[in-house]
Symmetry: C2
Subunit: 307 residues, 2 copies
Protein backbone atom coordinates (compact mmCIF):
# COMPACT_ATOMS: atom_id res chain seq x y z
CA UNK A 1 0.00 0.00 0.00
CA UNK A 2 2.78 2.41 0.93
CA UNK A 3 4.56 1.63 -2.28
CA UNK A 4 1.56 2.25 -4.51
CA UNK A 5 1.13 5.67 -2.94
CA UNK A 6 4.63 6.81 -3.87
CA UNK A 7 4.03 9.81 -6.12
CA UNK A 8 6.57 8.86 -8.76
CA UNK A 9 5.31 5.30 -9.26
CA UNK A 10 1.63 5.80 -8.38
CA UNK A 11 -0.60 3.75 -10.64
CA UNK A 12 -4.28 4.54 -9.99
CA UNK A 13 -5.58 1.36 -11.64
CA UNK A 14 -3.21 -0.85 -9.64
CA UNK A 15 -4.32 1.00 -6.51
CA UNK A 16 -7.99 0.37 -7.34
CA UNK A 17 -7.29 -3.34 -7.85
CA UNK A 18 -5.33 -3.46 -4.60
CA UNK A 19 -8.13 -1.78 -2.64
CA UNK A 20 -10.72 -4.11 -4.21
CA UNK A 21 -8.74 -7.03 -2.78
CA UNK A 22 -8.62 -5.34 0.63
CA UNK A 23 -12.41 -4.85 0.53
CA UNK A 24 -12.86 -8.52 -0.40
CA UNK A 25 -10.72 -9.55 2.59
CA UNK A 26 -12.71 -7.30 4.94
CA UNK A 27 -15.96 -8.76 3.62
CA UNK A 28 -14.57 -12.26 4.03
CA UNK A 29 -13.63 -11.63 7.66
CA UNK A 30 -16.79 -9.75 8.67
CA UNK A 31 -19.32 -12.23 7.26
CA UNK A 32 -20.31 -15.05 9.66
CA UNK A 33 -18.06 -18.11 9.21
CA UNK A 34 -19.52 -20.79 6.97
CA UNK A 35 -19.29 -23.50 9.62
CA UNK A 36 -21.18 -21.56 12.30
CA UNK A 37 -24.70 -22.75 13.02
CA UNK A 38 -27.11 -22.18 11.25
CA UNK A 39 -24.69 -23.21 8.52
CA UNK A 40 -27.06 -23.10 5.50
CA UNK A 41 -27.82 -19.41 5.79
CA UNK A 42 -24.17 -18.54 6.42
CA UNK A 43 -23.19 -20.49 3.31
CA UNK A 44 -25.91 -18.71 1.32
CA UNK A 45 -24.74 -15.30 2.59
CA UNK A 46 -21.12 -15.99 1.69
CA UNK A 47 -22.08 -17.48 -1.67
CA UNK A 48 -24.06 -14.31 -2.46
CA UNK A 49 -21.53 -11.76 -1.24
CA UNK A 50 -18.10 -13.24 -1.91
CA UNK A 51 -16.26 -13.83 -5.17
CA UNK A 52 -16.75 -12.12 -8.46
CA UNK A 53 -17.87 -8.64 -7.47
CA UNK A 54 -16.07 -5.55 -8.76
CA UNK A 55 -16.22 -4.04 -5.24
CA UNK A 56 -16.83 -0.63 -6.79
CA UNK A 57 -18.93 0.53 -3.85
CA UNK A 58 -16.41 -0.58 -1.28
CA UNK A 59 -13.50 0.94 -3.20
CA UNK A 60 -15.44 4.21 -3.60
CA UNK A 61 -15.82 4.42 0.19
CA UNK A 62 -12.17 3.63 0.77
CA UNK A 63 -11.02 6.14 -1.86
CA UNK A 64 -13.34 8.86 -0.54
CA UNK A 65 -12.01 8.31 2.99
CA UNK A 66 -8.50 8.66 1.62
CA UNK A 67 -9.41 11.72 -0.47
CA UNK A 68 -10.83 13.34 2.67
CA UNK A 69 -7.59 12.74 4.55
CA UNK A 70 -8.28 9.43 6.32
CA UNK A 71 -6.48 6.09 6.06
CA UNK A 72 -7.96 3.46 3.74
CA UNK A 73 -8.06 0.87 6.53
CA UNK A 74 -10.47 3.01 8.53
CA UNK A 75 -13.11 2.60 5.81
CA UNK A 76 -12.78 -1.16 5.26
CA UNK A 77 -15.56 -2.27 7.66
CA UNK A 78 -17.85 0.36 6.09
CA UNK A 79 -16.81 -0.89 2.64
CA UNK A 80 -17.75 -4.44 3.66
CA UNK A 81 -21.14 -3.26 4.96
CA UNK A 82 -21.78 -1.42 1.67
CA UNK A 83 -20.97 -4.55 -0.32
CA UNK A 84 -23.35 -6.56 1.91
CA UNK A 85 -26.14 -4.09 1.13
CA UNK A 86 -25.31 -4.28 -2.57
CA UNK A 87 -25.26 -8.09 -2.45
CA UNK A 88 -28.61 -8.27 -0.62
CA UNK A 89 -30.20 -6.04 -3.28
CA UNK A 90 -28.87 -8.29 -6.06
CA UNK A 91 -30.09 -11.48 -4.38
CA UNK A 92 -33.62 -10.11 -3.97
CA UNK A 93 -33.57 -8.45 -7.41
CA UNK A 94 -32.69 -11.78 -9.04
CA UNK A 95 -35.66 -13.63 -7.46
CA UNK A 96 -38.29 -15.09 -9.82
CA UNK A 97 -40.85 -12.58 -8.46
CA UNK A 98 -38.52 -9.73 -9.46
CA UNK A 99 -36.08 -9.88 -12.41
CA UNK A 100 -35.95 -13.69 -12.48
CA UNK A 101 -32.25 -14.01 -13.32
CA UNK A 102 -30.37 -17.32 -13.36
CA UNK A 103 -26.77 -16.09 -13.55
CA UNK A 104 -24.91 -13.42 -11.62
CA UNK A 105 -21.18 -12.75 -11.36
CA UNK A 106 -20.48 -15.84 -13.45
CA UNK A 107 -22.34 -18.32 -11.28
CA UNK A 108 -25.95 -19.43 -10.69
CA UNK A 109 -27.99 -16.93 -8.67
CA UNK A 110 -28.57 -17.60 -4.96
CA UNK A 111 -32.14 -18.87 -5.33
CA UNK A 112 -31.00 -21.31 -8.05
CA UNK A 113 -28.56 -22.89 -5.61
CA UNK A 114 -30.29 -22.55 -2.23
CA UNK A 115 -33.97 -22.27 -3.18
CA UNK A 116 -36.23 -19.23 -3.10
CA UNK A 117 -37.05 -19.25 0.61
CA UNK A 118 -33.40 -19.40 1.59
CA UNK A 119 -32.55 -16.67 -0.95
CA UNK A 120 -35.12 -14.33 0.60
CA UNK A 121 -33.61 -15.05 4.03
CA UNK A 122 -30.01 -14.69 2.78
CA UNK A 123 -30.83 -11.22 1.42
CA UNK A 124 -32.51 -10.30 4.70
CA UNK A 125 -29.50 -11.58 6.61
CA UNK A 126 -27.00 -9.62 4.48
CA UNK A 127 -28.95 -6.40 5.03
CA UNK A 128 -29.21 -7.06 8.76
CA UNK A 129 -25.54 -7.96 8.98
CA UNK A 130 -24.56 -4.71 7.24
CA UNK A 131 -26.19 -2.84 10.12
CA UNK A 132 -24.55 -5.24 12.56
CA UNK A 133 -21.20 -4.03 11.22
CA UNK A 134 -22.23 -0.36 11.18
CA UNK A 135 -23.46 -0.57 14.78
CA UNK A 136 -19.97 -1.73 15.73
CA UNK A 137 -17.99 0.91 13.78
CA UNK A 138 -16.60 2.54 16.93
CA UNK A 139 -14.84 -0.75 17.78
CA UNK A 140 -14.12 -1.80 14.19
CA UNK A 141 -12.97 1.55 12.80
CA UNK A 142 -12.07 3.64 15.82
CA UNK A 143 -14.68 6.34 15.18
CA UNK A 144 -17.04 8.03 17.66
CA UNK A 145 -20.59 6.80 18.26
CA UNK A 146 -21.79 10.06 16.69
CA UNK A 147 -19.87 9.38 13.47
CA UNK A 148 -21.17 5.80 13.33
CA UNK A 149 -24.73 7.09 13.70
CA UNK A 150 -24.17 9.73 10.98
CA UNK A 151 -23.10 6.90 8.66
CA UNK A 152 -26.22 4.91 9.59
CA UNK A 153 -28.39 7.95 8.88
CA UNK A 154 -26.84 8.40 5.40
CA UNK A 155 -27.16 4.73 4.58
CA UNK A 156 -30.73 4.23 5.76
CA UNK A 157 -31.73 7.14 3.50
CA UNK A 158 -29.78 5.68 0.58
CA UNK A 159 -31.02 2.10 1.02
CA UNK A 160 -34.68 2.97 1.71
CA UNK A 161 -37.68 3.91 -0.36
CA UNK A 162 -36.20 7.26 -1.37
CA UNK A 163 -33.11 5.43 -2.63
CA UNK A 164 -32.26 1.84 -3.54
CA UNK A 165 -35.67 0.28 -2.81
CA UNK A 166 -37.53 3.20 -4.40
CA UNK A 167 -35.46 2.68 -7.53
CA UNK A 168 -36.36 -1.02 -7.64
CA UNK A 169 -40.03 -0.12 -7.33
CA UNK A 170 -39.82 2.48 -10.12
CA UNK A 171 -37.88 0.00 -12.24
CA UNK A 172 -40.53 -2.69 -11.68
CA UNK A 173 -43.29 -0.22 -12.52
CA UNK A 174 -41.56 1.19 -15.64
CA UNK A 175 -41.06 -2.29 -17.17
CA UNK A 176 -42.87 -2.59 -20.48
CA UNK A 177 -43.86 1.08 -20.53
CA UNK A 178 -43.14 2.83 -23.83
CA UNK A 179 -43.41 6.43 -22.65
CA UNK A 180 -40.25 6.55 -20.50
CA UNK A 181 -38.15 9.69 -21.13
CA UNK A 182 -34.43 10.23 -20.50
CA UNK A 183 -35.36 12.39 -17.49
CA UNK A 184 -37.55 9.64 -16.07
CA UNK A 185 -34.84 7.05 -16.65
CA UNK A 186 -32.34 9.32 -14.91
CA UNK A 187 -34.66 9.66 -11.90
CA UNK A 188 -35.00 5.87 -11.65
CA UNK A 189 -31.23 5.40 -11.69
CA UNK A 190 -30.61 8.26 -9.28
CA UNK A 191 -32.45 6.12 -6.77
CA UNK A 192 -31.64 2.57 -7.90
CA UNK A 193 -27.86 2.94 -8.07
CA UNK A 194 -27.09 6.65 -7.55
CA UNK A 195 -28.23 6.95 -3.94
CA UNK A 196 -25.96 4.13 -2.76
CA UNK A 197 -22.94 5.45 -4.72
CA UNK A 198 -23.51 8.82 -3.08
CA UNK A 199 -23.70 7.22 0.36
CA UNK A 200 -20.48 5.27 -0.34
CA UNK A 201 -18.39 8.39 -0.87
CA UNK A 202 -20.15 10.51 1.73
CA UNK A 203 -19.86 7.84 4.43
CA UNK A 204 -16.22 7.17 3.54
CA UNK A 205 -15.55 10.90 3.89
CA UNK A 206 -17.50 11.11 7.17
CA UNK A 207 -15.16 8.52 8.70
CA UNK A 208 -12.27 10.84 7.84
CA UNK A 209 -14.06 13.78 9.45
CA UNK A 210 -14.57 15.62 6.15
CA UNK A 211 -15.90 19.19 6.23
CA UNK A 212 -18.89 20.44 4.21
CA UNK A 213 -16.85 21.56 1.18
CA UNK A 214 -15.13 18.21 0.71
CA UNK A 215 -18.46 16.46 1.24
CA UNK A 216 -20.04 18.62 -1.46
CA UNK A 217 -17.27 17.90 -3.99
CA UNK A 218 -17.56 14.20 -3.27
CA UNK A 219 -21.35 14.30 -3.58
CA UNK A 220 -21.08 15.97 -7.00
CA UNK A 221 -18.50 13.38 -7.95
CA UNK A 222 -20.77 10.52 -6.85
CA UNK A 223 -23.73 11.81 -8.81
CA UNK A 224 -21.71 12.10 -12.04
CA UNK A 225 -20.05 8.74 -11.31
CA UNK A 226 -23.44 7.09 -10.84
CA UNK A 227 -24.70 8.41 -14.17
CA UNK A 228 -21.55 7.28 -15.99
CA UNK A 229 -21.78 3.87 -14.34
CA UNK A 230 -25.42 3.37 -15.23
CA UNK A 231 -25.10 4.38 -18.87
CA UNK A 232 -22.10 2.03 -19.17
CA UNK A 233 -24.18 -0.72 -17.56
CA UNK A 234 -26.96 -0.24 -20.10
CA UNK A 235 -24.40 -0.26 -22.94
CA UNK A 236 -22.86 -3.49 -21.63
CA UNK A 237 -26.27 -5.12 -21.68
CA UNK A 238 -26.29 -4.48 -25.45
CA UNK A 239 -22.64 -5.02 -26.36
CA UNK A 240 -21.24 -7.05 -23.46
CA UNK A 241 -19.57 -10.44 -23.62
CA UNK A 242 -21.46 -12.97 -21.44
CA UNK A 243 -18.18 -14.54 -20.28
CA UNK A 244 -16.70 -11.28 -18.99
CA UNK A 245 -20.06 -10.01 -17.77
CA UNK A 246 -20.81 -13.15 -15.74
CA UNK A 247 -24.48 -12.85 -16.67
CA UNK A 248 -26.53 -13.05 -19.83
CA UNK A 249 -26.64 -9.74 -21.72
CA UNK A 250 -29.75 -8.61 -23.60
CA UNK A 251 -31.99 -9.05 -20.56
CA UNK A 252 -33.02 -5.38 -20.55
CA UNK A 253 -34.44 -5.42 -24.06
CA UNK A 254 -36.11 -8.82 -23.47
CA UNK A 255 -37.96 -7.25 -20.58
CA UNK A 256 -38.64 -4.09 -22.58
CA UNK A 257 -36.74 -2.09 -19.96
CA UNK A 258 -36.01 1.53 -20.72
CA UNK A 259 -32.25 1.98 -21.20
CA UNK A 260 -30.00 4.76 -22.50
CA UNK A 261 -29.06 2.96 -25.75
CA UNK A 262 -32.74 2.26 -26.40
CA UNK A 263 -33.71 5.88 -25.79
CA UNK A 264 -30.83 7.82 -27.38
CA UNK A 265 -28.91 5.25 -29.46
CA UNK A 266 -25.59 3.54 -28.74
CA UNK A 267 -23.27 6.31 -29.95
CA UNK A 268 -25.02 9.08 -28.05
CA UNK A 269 -25.11 6.86 -24.94
CA UNK A 270 -21.34 6.37 -25.23
CA UNK A 271 -20.84 10.12 -25.53
CA UNK A 272 -23.04 10.74 -22.48
CA UNK A 273 -21.09 8.20 -20.45
CA UNK A 274 -17.75 9.83 -21.32
CA UNK A 275 -19.18 13.25 -20.51
CA UNK A 276 -20.42 12.07 -17.11
CA UNK A 277 -17.02 10.52 -16.31
CA UNK A 278 -15.36 13.83 -17.19
CA UNK A 279 -17.78 15.68 -14.90
CA UNK A 280 -16.90 13.25 -12.10
CA UNK A 281 -13.16 13.92 -12.54
CA UNK A 282 -13.84 17.65 -12.63
CA UNK A 283 -15.81 17.53 -9.35
CA UNK A 284 -12.81 16.24 -7.39
CA UNK A 285 -10.10 18.21 -9.22
CA UNK A 286 -9.68 20.44 -6.16
CA UNK A 287 -9.02 17.57 -3.73
CA UNK A 288 -5.46 16.52 -2.82
CA UNK A 289 -3.58 13.74 -4.61
CA UNK A 290 -3.54 10.78 -4.67
CA UNK A 291 -7.16 10.69 -3.47
CA UNK A 292 -8.45 12.60 -6.48
CA UNK A 293 -6.40 10.45 -8.86
CA UNK A 294 -7.93 7.30 -7.48
CA UNK A 295 -11.43 8.74 -7.78
CA UNK A 296 -10.64 9.84 -11.35
CA UNK A 297 -9.37 6.34 -12.14
CA UNK A 298 -12.58 4.86 -10.74
CA UNK A 299 -14.69 7.11 -12.98
CA UNK A 300 -12.63 5.97 -15.99
CA UNK A 301 -13.02 2.37 -14.88
CA UNK A 302 -16.81 2.78 -14.59
CA UNK A 303 -17.12 3.65 -18.29
CA UNK A 304 -14.22 1.54 -19.63
CA UNK A 305 -15.04 -1.76 -17.91
CA UNK A 306 -16.15 -4.93 -19.69
CA UNK A 307 -18.29 -6.27 -16.79
Amino acid sequence: MTESLDRATFDPMAYVAEQARAVERALESLLPPEGDDPATIHRAMRYSALGGGKRLRGVLAVAACRAAGGAEEKALPLAAALEMIHAYSLVHDDLPAMDDDDMRRGKPTTHKVFGEGMAVLAGDALLTHAFWVLGRLPRLAGVSAGTALAVIEELTDAAGTMGLIGGQVADLEAEGRTDVTVDHLRSIHLRKTGALFRACVRCGALLAGAGPETLQSLTDYADAFGLAFQIADDILDVTGDPQALGKRPGRDSERAKATYPALVGLEEARRMARQAAAAAREAVAGLPSPGRDVLAALADFAVGRDR
Copy 2:
Protein backbone atom coordinates in the same frame (compact mmCIF):
# COMPACT_ATOMS: atom_id res chain seq x y z
CA MET B 1 -51.63 7.96 31.18
CA THR B 2 -51.22 9.72 34.54
CA GLU B 3 -54.57 8.37 35.66
CA SER B 4 -53.85 4.78 34.73
CA LEU B 5 -50.68 4.94 36.83
CA ASP B 6 -52.50 5.96 40.00
CA ARG B 7 -51.78 3.13 42.44
CA ALA B 8 -55.30 2.79 43.81
CA THR B 9 -56.98 2.53 40.41
CA PHE B 10 -54.12 0.98 38.37
CA ASP B 11 -55.45 -1.58 35.92
CA PRO B 12 -52.57 -3.39 34.20
CA MET B 13 -54.67 -4.67 31.32
CA ALA B 14 -56.09 -1.21 30.59
CA TYR B 15 -52.55 0.14 30.71
CA VAL B 16 -51.38 -2.50 28.21
CA ALA B 17 -54.24 -1.60 25.86
CA GLU B 18 -53.45 2.11 26.25
CA GLN B 19 -49.77 1.58 25.46
CA ALA B 20 -50.62 -0.61 22.46
CA ARG B 21 -52.58 2.34 21.06
CA ALA B 22 -49.64 4.67 21.73
CA VAL B 23 -47.32 2.25 19.88
CA GLU B 24 -49.76 2.14 16.97
CA ARG B 25 -49.78 5.95 16.80
CA ALA B 26 -45.96 6.08 16.87
CA LEU B 27 -45.81 3.50 14.09
CA GLU B 28 -48.38 5.45 12.08
CA SER B 29 -46.38 8.67 12.38
CA LEU B 30 -42.93 7.14 11.75
CA LEU B 31 -43.83 5.16 8.62
CA PRO B 32 -43.50 7.10 5.34
CA PRO B 33 -46.82 8.80 4.39
CA GLU B 34 -48.91 6.83 1.93
CA GLY B 35 -49.07 9.66 -0.60
CA ASP B 36 -45.30 10.17 -0.80
CA ASP B 37 -43.62 8.95 -3.96
CA PRO B 38 -43.00 6.03 -4.59
CA ALA B 39 -46.55 5.57 -3.36
CA THR B 40 -46.99 1.83 -4.02
CA ILE B 41 -44.23 0.73 -1.67
CA HIS B 42 -45.36 3.14 1.03
CA ARG B 43 -48.88 1.78 0.77
CA ALA B 44 -47.52 -1.78 0.96
CA MET B 45 -45.41 -0.93 4.03
CA ARG B 46 -48.33 0.68 5.84
CA TYR B 47 -50.69 -2.15 4.83
CA SER B 48 -48.21 -4.66 6.26
CA ALA B 49 -47.38 -2.85 9.49
CA LEU B 50 -50.55 -0.99 10.53
CA GLY B 51 -53.85 -2.30 11.88
CA GLY B 52 -54.57 -5.55 13.60
CA GLY B 53 -51.29 -6.25 15.40
CA LYS B 54 -51.22 -6.93 19.15
CA ARG B 55 -48.17 -4.61 19.47
CA LEU B 56 -46.76 -7.01 22.09
CA ARG B 57 -43.16 -6.22 21.10
CA GLY B 58 -43.68 -2.50 21.20
CA VAL B 59 -45.52 -2.65 24.51
CA LEU B 60 -42.78 -4.85 25.99
CA ALA B 61 -40.21 -2.18 25.10
CA VAL B 62 -42.33 0.60 26.55
CA ALA B 63 -43.06 -1.38 29.73
CA ALA B 64 -39.40 -2.33 30.19
CA CYS B 65 -38.36 1.30 29.80
CA ARG B 66 -40.91 2.23 32.46
CA ALA B 67 -39.84 -0.67 34.72
CA ALA B 68 -36.24 0.57 34.46
CA GLY B 69 -37.26 4.07 35.53
CA GLY B 70 -37.78 5.81 32.16
CA ALA B 71 -40.89 7.45 30.72
CA GLU B 72 -42.98 5.39 28.30
CA GLU B 73 -42.79 8.11 25.63
CA LYS B 74 -39.03 7.74 25.43
CA ALA B 75 -39.43 4.19 24.12
CA LEU B 76 -42.14 4.83 21.51
CA PRO B 77 -39.83 5.33 18.48
CA LEU B 78 -37.95 2.16 19.51
CA ALA B 79 -41.29 0.38 19.89
CA ALA B 80 -42.28 1.45 16.37
CA ALA B 81 -38.94 0.18 14.99
CA LEU B 82 -39.46 -3.18 16.73
CA GLU B 83 -42.93 -3.49 15.21
CA MET B 84 -41.46 -2.69 11.77
CA ILE B 85 -38.94 -5.52 12.20
CA HIS B 86 -41.71 -7.86 13.34
CA ALA B 87 -43.91 -6.84 10.38
CA TYR B 88 -41.07 -7.35 7.87
CA SER B 89 -40.46 -10.86 9.21
CA LEU B 90 -44.18 -11.70 8.86
CA VAL B 91 -44.37 -10.35 5.28
CA HIS B 92 -41.39 -12.44 4.18
CA ASP B 93 -42.48 -15.47 6.23
CA ASP B 94 -45.90 -15.43 4.52
CA LEU B 95 -44.40 -15.51 0.99
CA PRO B 96 -45.19 -18.53 -1.22
CA ALA B 97 -41.52 -19.57 -1.06
CA MET B 98 -41.72 -19.64 2.74
CA ASP B 99 -44.93 -20.45 4.70
CA ASP B 100 -47.27 -19.53 1.84
CA ASP B 101 -50.00 -17.95 3.96
CA ASP B 102 -53.02 -16.11 2.52
CA MET B 103 -54.37 -14.43 5.66
CA ARG B 104 -52.70 -12.47 8.43
CA ARG B 105 -54.21 -10.23 11.09
CA GLY B 106 -57.65 -10.73 9.56
CA LYS B 107 -56.75 -9.54 6.07
CA PRO B 108 -55.08 -10.93 2.94
CA THR B 109 -51.29 -11.16 3.24
CA THR B 110 -49.15 -8.47 1.58
CA HIS B 111 -48.15 -10.55 -1.47
CA LYS B 112 -51.82 -11.43 -2.09
CA VAL B 113 -52.64 -7.73 -2.37
CA PHE B 114 -49.48 -6.20 -3.86
CA GLY B 115 -47.85 -9.15 -5.63
CA GLU B 116 -44.77 -11.14 -4.63
CA GLY B 117 -42.13 -8.73 -5.92
CA MET B 118 -43.64 -5.79 -4.07
CA ALA B 119 -44.02 -7.91 -0.91
CA VAL B 120 -40.30 -8.77 -0.96
CA LEU B 121 -39.52 -5.05 -1.35
CA ALA B 122 -42.05 -4.01 1.33
CA GLY B 123 -40.36 -6.35 3.81
CA ASP B 124 -36.95 -5.01 2.83
CA ALA B 125 -38.23 -1.46 3.23
CA LEU B 126 -39.71 -2.12 6.67
CA LEU B 127 -36.43 -3.59 7.90
CA THR B 128 -34.45 -0.69 6.43
CA HIS B 129 -36.86 1.84 7.88
CA ALA B 130 -36.54 0.31 11.34
CA PHE B 131 -32.82 1.13 11.21
CA TRP B 132 -33.70 4.56 9.79
CA VAL B 133 -35.63 5.20 13.02
CA LEU B 134 -32.93 3.70 15.27
CA GLY B 135 -30.24 5.83 13.61
CA ARG B 136 -32.28 8.90 14.58
CA LEU B 137 -32.99 7.90 18.21
CA PRO B 138 -30.94 10.78 19.62
CA ARG B 139 -33.33 13.25 17.96
CA LEU B 140 -36.47 11.13 18.33
CA ALA B 141 -35.96 9.92 21.89
CA GLY B 142 -33.44 12.31 23.41
CA VAL B 143 -30.80 9.65 24.08
CA SER B 144 -27.05 9.79 23.44
CA ALA B 145 -25.44 8.48 20.27
CA GLY B 146 -23.81 5.79 22.42
CA THR B 147 -27.17 4.58 23.72
CA ALA B 148 -28.64 4.54 20.20
CA LEU B 149 -25.69 2.44 19.01
CA ALA B 150 -26.07 0.05 21.98
CA VAL B 151 -29.69 -0.47 20.91
CA ILE B 152 -28.60 -1.11 17.32
CA GLU B 153 -26.04 -3.65 18.54
CA GLU B 154 -28.69 -5.53 20.54
CA LEU B 155 -31.16 -5.49 17.69
CA THR B 156 -28.80 -6.56 14.94
CA ASP B 157 -27.88 -9.58 17.07
CA ALA B 158 -31.53 -10.35 17.73
CA ALA B 159 -32.69 -9.91 14.11
CA GLY B 160 -29.76 -11.72 12.47
CA THR B 161 -28.80 -15.32 11.86
CA MET B 162 -28.25 -16.02 15.57
CA GLY B 163 -31.77 -14.74 16.25
CA LEU B 164 -34.88 -14.11 14.15
CA ILE B 165 -33.48 -15.18 10.76
CA GLY B 166 -31.70 -18.18 12.25
CA GLY B 167 -35.00 -19.28 13.77
CA GLN B 168 -36.72 -19.02 10.39
CA VAL B 169 -34.00 -21.13 8.84
CA ALA B 170 -34.25 -23.79 11.56
CA ASP B 171 -38.03 -23.71 11.25
CA LEU B 172 -37.81 -24.20 7.46
CA GLU B 173 -35.35 -27.05 7.92
CA ALA B 174 -37.33 -28.77 10.70
CA GLU B 175 -40.55 -28.83 8.63
CA GLY B 176 -41.72 -32.38 8.05
CA ARG B 177 -39.03 -33.87 10.28
CA THR B 178 -40.36 -36.41 12.74
CA ASP B 179 -37.42 -36.52 15.14
CA VAL B 180 -37.79 -33.04 16.66
CA THR B 181 -37.50 -33.07 20.47
CA VAL B 182 -38.85 -30.54 22.99
CA ASP B 183 -35.29 -29.26 23.45
CA HIS B 184 -34.84 -28.78 19.71
CA LEU B 185 -38.20 -27.02 19.45
CA ARG B 186 -37.22 -24.76 22.33
CA SER B 187 -33.96 -23.86 20.57
CA ILE B 188 -35.84 -22.93 17.36
CA HIS B 189 -38.22 -20.67 19.25
CA LEU B 190 -35.45 -19.10 21.34
CA ARG B 191 -34.20 -17.73 18.04
CA LYS B 192 -37.40 -17.30 16.02
CA THR B 193 -39.35 -15.30 18.60
CA GLY B 194 -37.29 -15.32 21.80
CA ALA B 195 -34.35 -13.25 20.59
CA LEU B 196 -36.54 -10.34 19.50
CA PHE B 197 -38.59 -10.41 22.74
CA ARG B 198 -35.33 -10.28 24.64
CA ALA B 199 -34.11 -7.33 22.56
CA CYS B 200 -37.45 -5.53 23.13
CA VAL B 201 -37.10 -5.47 26.89
CA ARG B 202 -33.33 -4.98 26.93
CA CYS B 203 -33.45 -2.06 24.46
CA GLY B 204 -36.38 -0.47 26.30
CA ALA B 205 -34.35 -0.68 29.50
CA LEU B 206 -31.20 0.67 27.81
CA LEU B 207 -33.11 3.83 26.87
CA ALA B 208 -33.85 4.32 30.56
CA GLY B 209 -30.19 3.82 31.44
CA ALA B 210 -30.78 0.53 33.26
CA GLY B 211 -27.90 -1.03 35.19
CA PRO B 212 -26.71 -4.65 34.81
CA GLU B 213 -28.96 -6.06 37.57
CA THR B 214 -32.15 -4.64 36.10
CA LEU B 215 -31.05 -5.77 32.63
CA GLN B 216 -30.52 -9.30 33.95
CA SER B 217 -33.96 -9.46 35.59
CA LEU B 218 -35.55 -8.21 32.39
CA THR B 219 -33.58 -10.69 30.28
CA ASP B 220 -34.78 -13.57 32.47
CA TYR B 221 -38.30 -12.19 32.19
CA ALA B 222 -38.08 -11.99 28.39
CA ASP B 223 -36.85 -15.56 28.06
CA ALA B 224 -39.69 -16.93 30.17
CA PHE B 225 -42.15 -14.62 28.41
CA GLY B 226 -40.98 -15.84 25.02
CA LEU B 227 -41.49 -19.47 25.99
CA ALA B 228 -44.98 -18.77 27.38
CA PHE B 229 -45.87 -16.82 24.25
CA GLN B 230 -44.69 -19.53 21.89
CA ILE B 231 -46.43 -22.40 23.63
CA ALA B 232 -49.64 -20.33 23.68
CA ASP B 233 -49.16 -19.65 19.96
CA ASP B 234 -48.85 -23.36 19.22
CA ILE B 235 -51.96 -24.07 21.33
CA LEU B 236 -53.92 -21.38 19.46
CA ASP B 237 -53.05 -23.06 16.17
CA VAL B 238 -54.88 -26.15 17.50
CA THR B 239 -57.75 -24.60 19.44
CA GLY B 240 -58.01 -21.04 18.08
CA ASP B 241 -61.02 -19.40 16.47
CA PRO B 242 -60.18 -18.23 12.91
CA GLN B 243 -62.21 -15.03 13.41
CA ALA B 244 -60.34 -13.92 16.54
CA LEU B 245 -57.03 -15.24 15.25
CA GLY B 246 -57.25 -13.35 11.94
CA LYS B 247 -55.61 -16.29 10.18
CA ARG B 248 -56.47 -19.90 9.50
CA PRO B 249 -55.58 -22.23 12.40
CA GLY B 250 -54.33 -25.76 11.80
CA ARG B 251 -51.53 -24.59 9.50
CA ASP B 252 -48.82 -26.06 11.75
CA SER B 253 -50.15 -29.61 11.60
CA GLU B 254 -50.85 -29.32 7.85
CA ARG B 255 -47.20 -28.53 7.35
CA ALA B 256 -46.16 -31.21 9.85
CA LYS B 257 -44.47 -28.55 11.95
CA ALA B 258 -43.21 -29.58 15.35
CA THR B 259 -45.31 -27.86 18.05
CA TYR B 260 -45.66 -28.20 21.81
CA PRO B 261 -49.18 -29.73 21.66
CA ALA B 262 -47.95 -32.23 19.06
CA LEU B 263 -44.93 -33.19 21.17
CA VAL B 264 -46.34 -33.19 24.72
CA GLY B 265 -50.13 -33.05 24.31
CA LEU B 266 -52.53 -30.15 24.81
CA GLU B 267 -52.90 -30.39 28.60
CA GLU B 268 -49.18 -30.60 29.30
CA ALA B 269 -48.58 -27.71 26.86
CA ARG B 270 -51.10 -25.59 28.78
CA ARG B 271 -49.37 -26.43 32.06
CA MET B 272 -45.97 -25.50 30.58
CA ALA B 273 -47.33 -22.16 29.32
CA ARG B 274 -48.73 -21.26 32.76
CA GLN B 275 -45.47 -22.30 34.38
CA ALA B 276 -43.44 -20.10 32.00
CA ALA B 277 -45.74 -17.12 32.65
CA ALA B 278 -45.25 -17.61 36.39
CA ALA B 279 -41.48 -17.69 35.89
CA ALA B 280 -41.71 -14.43 33.93
CA ARG B 281 -43.64 -12.75 36.74
CA GLU B 282 -41.15 -14.09 39.27
CA ALA B 283 -38.17 -12.68 37.31
CA VAL B 284 -39.41 -9.10 37.67
CA ALA B 285 -40.84 -9.38 41.19
CA GLY B 286 -37.95 -7.29 42.53
CA LEU B 287 -38.54 -4.33 40.18
CA PRO B 288 -40.60 -1.32 41.28
CA SER B 289 -44.33 -0.96 40.62
CA PRO B 290 -46.09 -0.29 38.36
CA GLY B 291 -43.45 -1.46 35.86
CA ARG B 292 -43.40 -4.99 37.23
CA ASP B 293 -47.22 -5.13 37.31
CA VAL B 294 -47.40 -4.21 33.65
CA LEU B 295 -44.82 -6.81 32.75
CA ALA B 296 -46.72 -9.39 34.85
CA ALA B 297 -49.93 -8.43 33.06
CA LEU B 298 -48.21 -8.88 29.70
CA ALA B 299 -47.07 -12.38 30.67
CA ASP B 300 -50.65 -13.24 31.66
CA PHE B 301 -51.89 -11.75 28.40
CA ALA B 302 -49.39 -13.84 26.40
CA VAL B 303 -50.92 -17.10 27.69
CA GLY B 304 -54.55 -15.93 28.08
CA ARG B 305 -55.02 -14.32 24.66
CA ASP B 306 -57.30 -15.60 21.92
CA ARG B 307 -55.20 -14.25 19.02
